[in-house]
Symmetry: C2
Subunit: 205 residues, 2 copies
Protein backbone atom coordinates (compact mmCIF):
# COMPACT_ATOMS: atom_id res chain seq x y z
CA UNK A 1 0.00 0.00 0.00
CA UNK A 2 1.33 3.39 -1.03
CA UNK A 3 1.00 5.71 1.95
CA UNK A 4 0.59 9.46 2.06
CA UNK A 5 3.77 11.22 3.12
CA UNK A 6 3.86 13.41 6.20
CA UNK A 7 4.67 16.58 4.21
CA UNK A 8 1.44 16.17 2.18
CA UNK A 9 -0.56 15.65 5.38
CA UNK A 10 1.07 18.69 7.00
CA UNK A 11 0.14 20.83 3.95
CA UNK A 12 -3.42 19.62 4.31
CA UNK A 13 -3.61 20.39 8.06
CA UNK A 14 -2.17 23.81 7.35
CA UNK A 15 -4.81 24.50 4.67
CA UNK A 16 -7.73 23.52 6.92
CA UNK A 17 -8.82 26.10 9.48
CA UNK A 18 -9.03 23.56 12.34
CA UNK A 19 -8.64 19.89 13.26
CA UNK A 20 -11.65 17.68 13.94
CA UNK A 21 -12.76 18.05 17.57
CA UNK A 22 -12.16 14.96 19.75
CA UNK A 23 -15.85 14.79 20.66
CA UNK A 24 -16.71 14.16 17.00
CA UNK A 25 -14.17 11.30 16.86
CA UNK A 26 -15.69 9.75 19.99
CA UNK A 27 -19.18 9.99 18.46
CA UNK A 28 -17.97 8.48 15.15
CA UNK A 29 -16.61 5.43 16.97
CA UNK A 30 -20.15 4.78 18.25
CA UNK A 31 -21.75 5.32 14.83
CA UNK A 32 -19.81 3.07 12.48
CA UNK A 33 -22.82 2.14 10.33
CA UNK A 34 -23.91 5.75 9.67
CA UNK A 35 -20.27 6.79 9.19
CA UNK A 36 -19.70 4.19 6.45
CA UNK A 37 -23.11 4.63 4.80
CA UNK A 38 -22.53 8.37 4.61
CA UNK A 39 -18.94 7.91 3.43
CA UNK A 40 -20.19 5.67 0.60
CA UNK A 41 -22.73 8.33 -0.43
CA UNK A 42 -20.13 11.10 -0.31
CA UNK A 43 -17.87 9.23 -2.74
CA UNK A 44 -20.82 9.15 -5.16
CA UNK A 45 -21.44 12.87 -4.59
CA UNK A 46 -17.76 13.68 -5.17
CA UNK A 47 -17.93 11.90 -8.55
CA UNK A 48 -21.14 13.76 -9.43
CA UNK A 49 -19.69 17.14 -8.50
CA UNK A 50 -16.60 16.50 -10.62
CA UNK A 51 -18.79 15.52 -13.57
CA UNK A 52 -20.98 18.61 -13.11
CA UNK A 53 -17.88 20.81 -13.27
CA UNK A 54 -16.92 19.08 -16.52
CA UNK A 55 -20.32 19.92 -18.06
CA UNK A 56 -19.84 23.55 -17.02
CA UNK A 57 -16.30 23.82 -18.47
CA UNK A 58 -16.10 22.22 -21.94
CA UNK A 59 -13.59 24.94 -22.90
CA UNK A 60 -11.17 24.26 -20.02
CA UNK A 61 -8.98 21.22 -20.77
CA UNK A 62 -7.30 21.27 -17.35
CA UNK A 63 -10.67 21.12 -15.55
CA UNK A 64 -11.89 18.35 -17.87
CA UNK A 65 -8.77 16.25 -17.44
CA UNK A 66 -8.41 16.61 -13.67
CA UNK A 67 -12.13 16.22 -12.95
CA UNK A 68 -12.55 13.16 -15.18
CA UNK A 69 -9.69 11.38 -13.42
CA UNK A 70 -10.97 12.52 -10.03
CA UNK A 71 -14.49 11.24 -10.80
CA UNK A 72 -13.07 7.86 -11.80
CA UNK A 73 -11.08 7.66 -8.58
CA UNK A 74 -14.09 8.60 -6.43
CA UNK A 75 -16.19 5.93 -8.15
CA UNK A 76 -13.47 3.37 -7.42
CA UNK A 77 -13.59 4.46 -3.77
CA UNK A 78 -17.39 4.21 -3.83
CA UNK A 79 -17.10 0.59 -4.98
CA UNK A 80 -14.64 -0.18 -2.19
CA UNK A 81 -16.74 1.41 0.56
CA UNK A 82 -19.81 -0.38 -0.80
CA UNK A 83 -17.97 -3.71 -0.61
CA UNK A 84 -16.94 -2.91 2.96
CA UNK A 85 -20.55 -2.07 3.91
CA UNK A 86 -21.71 -5.37 2.41
CA UNK A 87 -19.02 -7.40 4.22
CA UNK A 88 -20.16 -5.85 7.52
CA UNK A 89 -23.83 -6.59 6.85
CA UNK A 90 -24.80 -2.91 6.63
CA UNK A 91 -27.33 -1.89 3.97
CA UNK A 92 -26.36 1.05 1.77
CA UNK A 93 -28.80 3.90 2.35
CA UNK A 94 -28.86 7.50 1.25
CA UNK A 95 -29.30 9.37 4.52
CA UNK A 96 -30.55 12.90 5.09
CA UNK A 97 -27.52 15.01 4.15
CA UNK A 98 -25.32 16.84 6.58
CA UNK A 99 -25.53 20.64 6.72
CA UNK A 100 -21.81 20.86 5.83
CA UNK A 101 -21.74 21.07 2.01
CA UNK A 102 -24.91 23.16 2.02
CA UNK A 103 -23.31 25.82 4.23
CA UNK A 104 -20.34 26.10 1.87
CA UNK A 105 -22.33 25.86 -1.38
CA UNK A 106 -24.71 28.63 -0.25
CA UNK A 107 -21.85 31.15 -0.47
CA UNK A 108 -20.73 30.28 -4.01
CA UNK A 109 -21.09 33.32 -6.28
CA UNK A 110 -23.84 33.03 -8.90
CA UNK A 111 -21.95 34.15 -12.00
CA UNK A 112 -18.65 33.22 -13.63
CA UNK A 113 -15.73 33.38 -13.21
CA UNK A 114 -16.53 33.72 -9.46
CA UNK A 115 -18.89 30.75 -9.54
CA UNK A 116 -16.28 28.39 -10.95
CA UNK A 117 -13.51 29.63 -8.65
CA UNK A 118 -15.71 29.34 -5.56
CA UNK A 119 -16.94 25.87 -6.58
CA UNK A 120 -13.33 24.73 -6.91
CA UNK A 121 -12.38 26.23 -3.52
CA UNK A 122 -15.38 24.50 -1.90
CA UNK A 123 -14.30 21.27 -3.61
CA UNK A 124 -10.84 21.70 -2.08
CA UNK A 125 -12.30 22.13 1.43
CA UNK A 126 -14.58 19.09 1.12
CA UNK A 127 -11.71 16.89 -0.11
CA UNK A 128 -9.29 18.24 2.51
CA UNK A 129 -11.76 17.75 5.36
CA UNK A 130 -12.55 14.20 4.21
CA UNK A 131 -8.86 13.48 4.16
CA UNK A 132 -8.33 14.99 7.61
CA UNK A 133 -11.19 12.87 8.98
CA UNK A 134 -9.68 9.68 7.50
CA UNK A 135 -6.35 10.59 9.13
CA UNK A 136 -8.03 11.42 12.46
CA UNK A 137 -10.19 8.28 12.52
CA UNK A 138 -7.65 5.73 11.23
CA UNK A 139 -5.75 5.22 14.53
CA UNK A 140 -9.02 4.46 16.36
CA UNK A 141 -10.71 2.06 13.92
CA UNK A 142 -10.29 -1.71 13.55
CA UNK A 143 -7.57 -3.01 11.24
CA UNK A 144 -9.70 -3.37 8.11
CA UNK A 145 -11.12 0.16 8.22
CA UNK A 146 -7.87 1.65 9.43
CA UNK A 147 -5.93 0.20 6.48
CA UNK A 148 -8.68 1.28 4.10
CA UNK A 149 -8.82 4.88 5.39
CA UNK A 150 -5.02 5.16 5.17
CA UNK A 151 -5.17 3.94 1.57
CA UNK A 152 -7.64 6.74 0.75
CA UNK A 153 -5.47 9.46 2.29
CA UNK A 154 -2.98 9.44 -0.55
CA UNK A 155 -5.44 10.23 -3.35
CA UNK A 156 -7.65 12.54 -1.30
CA UNK A 157 -4.60 14.61 -0.29
CA UNK A 158 -3.87 15.05 -4.01
CA UNK A 159 -7.48 15.96 -4.86
CA UNK A 160 -7.58 18.98 -2.58
CA UNK A 161 -4.44 20.37 -4.24
CA UNK A 162 -5.87 19.74 -7.72
CA UNK A 163 -8.97 21.76 -6.82
CA UNK A 164 -6.89 24.64 -5.42
CA UNK A 165 -4.52 24.69 -8.39
CA UNK A 166 -7.46 24.84 -10.81
CA UNK A 167 -9.11 27.62 -8.77
CA UNK A 168 -5.95 29.75 -8.89
CA UNK A 169 -5.28 29.07 -12.58
CA UNK A 170 -8.78 30.31 -13.56
CA UNK A 171 -8.65 33.43 -11.39
CA UNK A 172 -7.04 36.70 -12.45
CA UNK A 173 -6.48 37.72 -8.82
CA UNK A 174 -4.93 35.77 -5.95
CA UNK A 175 -7.60 33.49 -4.44
CA UNK A 176 -6.34 33.85 -0.86
CA UNK A 177 -9.22 36.06 0.29
CA UNK A 178 -11.87 33.64 -1.04
CA UNK A 179 -9.98 30.71 0.48
CA UNK A 180 -9.99 32.49 3.86
CA UNK A 181 -13.68 33.40 3.45
CA UNK A 182 -14.69 29.76 2.87
CA UNK A 183 -12.25 28.66 5.58
CA UNK A 184 -14.20 30.67 8.16
CA UNK A 185 -17.47 29.01 7.07
CA UNK A 186 -15.82 25.59 7.13
CA UNK A 187 -14.43 26.17 10.62
CA UNK A 188 -17.86 27.15 11.89
CA UNK A 189 -19.45 24.05 10.31
CA UNK A 190 -16.89 21.81 12.03
CA UNK A 191 -16.67 23.54 15.43
CA UNK A 192 -20.29 24.52 16.10
CA UNK A 193 -22.98 22.20 17.46
CA UNK A 194 -24.68 19.97 14.91
CA UNK A 195 -27.81 17.90 15.59
CA UNK A 196 -27.18 15.31 12.89
CA UNK A 197 -24.15 13.00 13.02
CA UNK A 198 -22.57 12.61 9.59
CA UNK A 199 -19.11 12.21 8.04
CA UNK A 200 -18.76 16.00 7.79
CA UNK A 201 -20.86 17.03 10.80
CA UNK A 202 -19.89 19.50 13.53
CA UNK A 203 -19.68 19.00 17.29
CA UNK A 204 -22.35 16.47 18.38
CA UNK A 205 -25.17 18.39 20.11
CA UNK B 1 -5.49 -4.38 -28.61
CA UNK B 2 -8.22 -6.71 -27.46
CA UNK B 3 -10.84 -6.86 -30.20
CA UNK B 4 -14.54 -7.56 -29.98
CA UNK B 5 -15.41 -11.03 -31.25
CA UNK B 6 -17.81 -11.53 -34.14
CA UNK B 7 -20.40 -13.38 -32.01
CA UNK B 8 -20.72 -10.35 -29.71
CA UNK B 9 -21.11 -8.05 -32.70
CA UNK B 10 -23.71 -10.36 -34.26
CA UNK B 11 -25.70 -10.36 -30.99
CA UNK B 12 -25.62 -6.57 -31.07
CA UNK B 13 -26.77 -6.33 -34.70
CA UNK B 14 -29.57 -8.77 -33.89
CA UNK B 15 -30.69 -6.66 -30.93
CA UNK B 16 -30.83 -3.43 -32.93
CA UNK B 17 -33.86 -2.95 -35.19
CA UNK B 18 -31.78 -1.79 -38.18
CA UNK B 19 -28.27 -1.01 -39.40
CA UNK B 20 -27.08 2.54 -39.94
CA UNK B 21 -28.12 3.79 -43.41
CA UNK B 22 -25.23 4.29 -45.84
CA UNK B 23 -26.21 7.92 -46.39
CA UNK B 24 -25.50 8.64 -42.73
CA UNK B 25 -22.03 7.05 -43.05
CA UNK B 26 -21.30 9.20 -46.12
CA UNK B 27 -22.36 12.33 -44.24
CA UNK B 28 -20.26 11.38 -41.19
CA UNK B 29 -17.13 11.13 -43.34
CA UNK B 30 -17.67 14.80 -44.31
CA UNK B 31 -18.30 15.89 -40.72
CA UNK B 32 -15.38 14.53 -38.76
CA UNK B 33 -15.12 17.50 -36.40
CA UNK B 34 -18.80 17.44 -35.36
CA UNK B 35 -18.70 13.62 -35.16
CA UNK B 36 -15.78 13.65 -32.70
CA UNK B 37 -17.02 16.64 -30.69
CA UNK B 38 -20.39 14.97 -30.27
CA UNK B 39 -18.81 11.58 -29.49
CA UNK B 40 -16.76 13.24 -26.74
CA UNK B 41 -19.90 14.79 -25.25
CA UNK B 42 -21.81 11.50 -25.42
CA UNK B 43 -19.15 9.72 -23.38
CA UNK B 44 -19.66 12.38 -20.69
CA UNK B 45 -23.44 11.91 -20.92
CA UNK B 46 -23.09 8.13 -20.64
CA UNK B 47 -21.11 8.56 -17.42
CA UNK B 48 -23.70 11.00 -16.07
CA UNK B 49 -26.61 8.68 -16.89
CA UNK B 50 -24.90 5.77 -15.14
CA UNK B 51 -24.29 7.93 -12.07
CA UNK B 52 -27.90 9.14 -12.07
CA UNK B 53 -29.10 5.53 -12.06
CA UNK B 54 -26.85 4.88 -9.06
CA UNK B 55 -28.46 7.75 -7.13
CA UNK B 56 -31.90 6.29 -7.95
CA UNK B 57 -30.99 2.73 -6.86
CA UNK B 58 -29.06 2.77 -3.56
CA UNK B 59 -30.84 -0.50 -2.64
CA UNK B 60 -29.78 -2.40 -5.81
CA UNK B 61 -26.17 -3.64 -5.50
CA UNK B 62 -26.10 -5.00 -9.07
CA UNK B 63 -27.11 -1.61 -10.53
CA UNK B 64 -24.57 0.20 -8.30
CA UNK B 65 -21.73 -2.11 -9.19
CA UNK B 66 -22.36 -2.29 -12.96
CA UNK B 67 -23.11 1.42 -13.32
CA UNK B 68 -20.10 2.55 -11.29
CA UNK B 69 -17.75 0.48 -13.46
CA UNK B 70 -19.55 1.62 -16.61
CA UNK B 71 -19.27 5.30 -15.58
CA UNK B 72 -15.53 4.86 -14.99
CA UNK B 73 -15.11 3.26 -18.39
CA UNK B 74 -17.08 6.03 -20.16
CA UNK B 75 -14.95 8.67 -18.45
CA UNK B 76 -11.81 6.89 -19.62
CA UNK B 77 -13.26 6.96 -23.16
CA UNK B 78 -14.10 10.65 -22.74
CA UNK B 79 -10.46 11.35 -21.88
CA UNK B 80 -9.30 9.45 -24.96
CA UNK B 81 -11.70 11.20 -27.35
CA UNK B 82 -10.73 14.55 -25.84
CA UNK B 83 -7.05 13.78 -26.45
CA UNK B 84 -7.88 12.84 -30.04
CA UNK B 85 -9.80 16.11 -30.56
CA UNK B 86 -6.84 18.07 -29.20
CA UNK B 87 -4.34 16.23 -31.41
CA UNK B 88 -6.46 17.11 -34.45
CA UNK B 89 -6.73 20.77 -33.48
CA UNK B 90 -10.50 20.59 -32.89
CA UNK B 91 -11.94 22.50 -29.93
CA UNK B 92 -14.22 20.55 -27.62
CA UNK B 93 -17.70 22.10 -27.74
CA UNK B 94 -21.03 21.00 -26.36
CA UNK B 95 -23.28 21.11 -29.44
CA UNK B 96 -27.05 21.31 -29.61
CA UNK B 97 -28.09 17.73 -28.81
CA UNK B 98 -29.45 15.27 -31.31
CA UNK B 99 -33.16 14.38 -31.15
CA UNK B 100 -32.20 10.70 -30.63
CA UNK B 101 -32.00 10.28 -26.83
CA UNK B 102 -34.91 12.69 -26.36
CA UNK B 103 -37.21 10.55 -28.51
CA UNK B 104 -36.38 7.46 -26.44
CA UNK B 105 -36.39 9.18 -23.03
CA UNK B 106 -39.80 10.72 -23.70
CA UNK B 107 -41.37 7.23 -23.57
CA UNK B 108 -39.86 6.15 -20.24
CA UNK B 109 -42.63 5.42 -17.73
CA UNK B 110 -42.87 7.94 -14.90
CA UNK B 111 -43.10 5.59 -11.91
CA UNK B 112 -41.10 2.60 -10.70
CA UNK B 113 -40.46 -0.22 -11.39
CA UNK B 114 -41.40 0.73 -15.01
CA UNK B 115 -39.25 3.84 -14.92
CA UNK B 116 -36.10 1.96 -13.96
CA UNK B 117 -36.72 -0.88 -16.44
CA UNK B 118 -37.40 1.53 -19.30
CA UNK B 119 -34.34 3.64 -18.41
CA UNK B 120 -32.18 0.53 -18.54
CA UNK B 121 -33.68 -0.56 -21.90
CA UNK B 122 -33.06 2.92 -23.33
CA UNK B 123 -29.49 2.70 -21.97
CA UNK B 124 -29.08 -0.61 -23.82
CA UNK B 125 -30.24 0.94 -27.12
CA UNK B 126 -27.98 3.97 -26.81
CA UNK B 127 -24.95 1.79 -26.05
CA UNK B 128 -25.80 -0.71 -28.79
CA UNK B 129 -26.32 2.01 -31.42
CA UNK B 130 -23.05 3.72 -30.45
CA UNK B 131 -21.31 0.39 -30.82
CA UNK B 132 -22.94 -0.29 -34.20
CA UNK B 133 -21.87 3.15 -35.42
CA UNK B 134 -18.25 2.55 -34.34
CA UNK B 135 -18.33 -0.76 -36.23
CA UNK B 136 -19.94 0.84 -39.30
CA UNK B 137 -17.56 3.82 -39.36
CA UNK B 138 -14.28 2.06 -38.54
CA UNK B 139 -13.59 0.65 -42.05
CA UNK B 140 -13.99 4.14 -43.58
CA UNK B 141 -11.96 6.26 -41.18
CA UNK B 142 -8.20 6.94 -41.12
CA UNK B 143 -5.95 4.56 -39.20
CA UNK B 144 -5.89 6.45 -35.90
CA UNK B 145 -9.67 6.79 -35.60
CA UNK B 146 -10.29 3.34 -37.02
CA UNK B 147 -8.05 1.69 -34.41
CA UNK B 148 -9.63 3.81 -31.68
CA UNK B 149 -13.22 2.98 -32.68
CA UNK B 150 -12.38 -0.73 -32.85
CA UNK B 151 -10.91 -0.50 -29.33
CA UNK B 152 -14.19 0.97 -28.08
CA UNK B 153 -16.31 -1.78 -29.61
CA UNK B 154 -15.29 -4.35 -27.06
CA UNK B 155 -16.45 -2.46 -23.97
CA UNK B 156 -19.50 -0.88 -25.60
CA UNK B 157 -20.70 -4.32 -26.75
CA UNK B 158 -20.55 -5.43 -23.11
CA UNK B 159 -22.36 -2.32 -21.83
CA UNK B 160 -25.50 -2.93 -23.86
CA UNK B 161 -25.76 -6.47 -22.42
CA UNK B 162 -25.20 -5.17 -18.88
CA UNK B 163 -28.10 -2.76 -19.31
CA UNK B 164 -30.39 -5.47 -20.69
CA UNK B 165 -29.46 -7.97 -17.96
CA UNK B 166 -30.20 -5.40 -15.27
CA UNK B 167 -33.54 -4.49 -16.91
CA UNK B 168 -34.64 -8.14 -16.95
CA UNK B 169 -33.45 -8.85 -13.41
CA UNK B 170 -35.51 -5.96 -12.00
CA UNK B 171 -38.66 -6.84 -13.92
CA UNK B 172 -41.21 -9.44 -12.80
CA UNK B 173 -42.37 -9.99 -16.37
CA UNK B 174 -40.36 -10.65 -19.52
CA UNK B 175 -39.11 -7.33 -20.91
CA UNK B 176 -39.47 -8.37 -24.58
CA UNK B 177 -42.50 -6.19 -25.27
CA UNK B 178 -40.85 -3.07 -23.85
CA UNK B 179 -37.66 -3.88 -25.77
CA UNK B 180 -39.71 -4.13 -28.99
CA UNK B 181 -41.59 -0.92 -28.13
CA UNK B 182 -38.36 1.07 -27.74
CA UNK B 183 -36.88 -0.73 -30.75
CA UNK B 184 -39.61 0.74 -32.97
CA UNK B 185 -38.86 4.26 -31.68
CA UNK B 186 -35.14 3.69 -32.16
CA UNK B 187 -35.64 2.48 -35.72
CA UNK B 188 -37.67 5.55 -36.56
CA UNK B 189 -35.02 7.85 -35.08
CA UNK B 190 -32.33 6.19 -37.21
CA UNK B 191 -34.26 5.74 -40.46
CA UNK B 192 -36.29 8.94 -40.70
CA UNK B 193 -35.00 12.28 -41.94
CA UNK B 194 -33.11 14.38 -39.41
CA UNK B 195 -32.10 18.02 -39.93
CA UNK B 196 -29.17 17.97 -37.51
CA UNK B 197 -26.12 15.78 -38.10
CA UNK B 198 -24.95 14.13 -34.90
CA UNK B 199 -23.41 10.84 -33.75
CA UNK B 200 -26.90 9.38 -33.24
CA UNK B 201 -28.79 11.29 -35.93
CA UNK B 202 -31.14 9.84 -38.57
CA UNK B 203 -30.98 10.08 -42.34
CA UNK B 204 -29.45 13.45 -43.36
CA UNK B 205 -32.24 15.72 -44.63
Amino acid sequence: MELVNQADLDALFEFLPCRTPDVWIQEALQQEEILLQNHCYLEQCAARNALQLMFRCPDKPDVLSKMSKLAREELRHFEKVHELLTRRGYAYKILKPSRYAGLLNAEIRKTNPGQLIDSLIVGAYIEARSCERFASLAPHMDDEISVFFRSLLKSEARHFKDYLTLAQSHSREPIDQRVAFFGAIERNAIESEDKLFRFHSGVPA
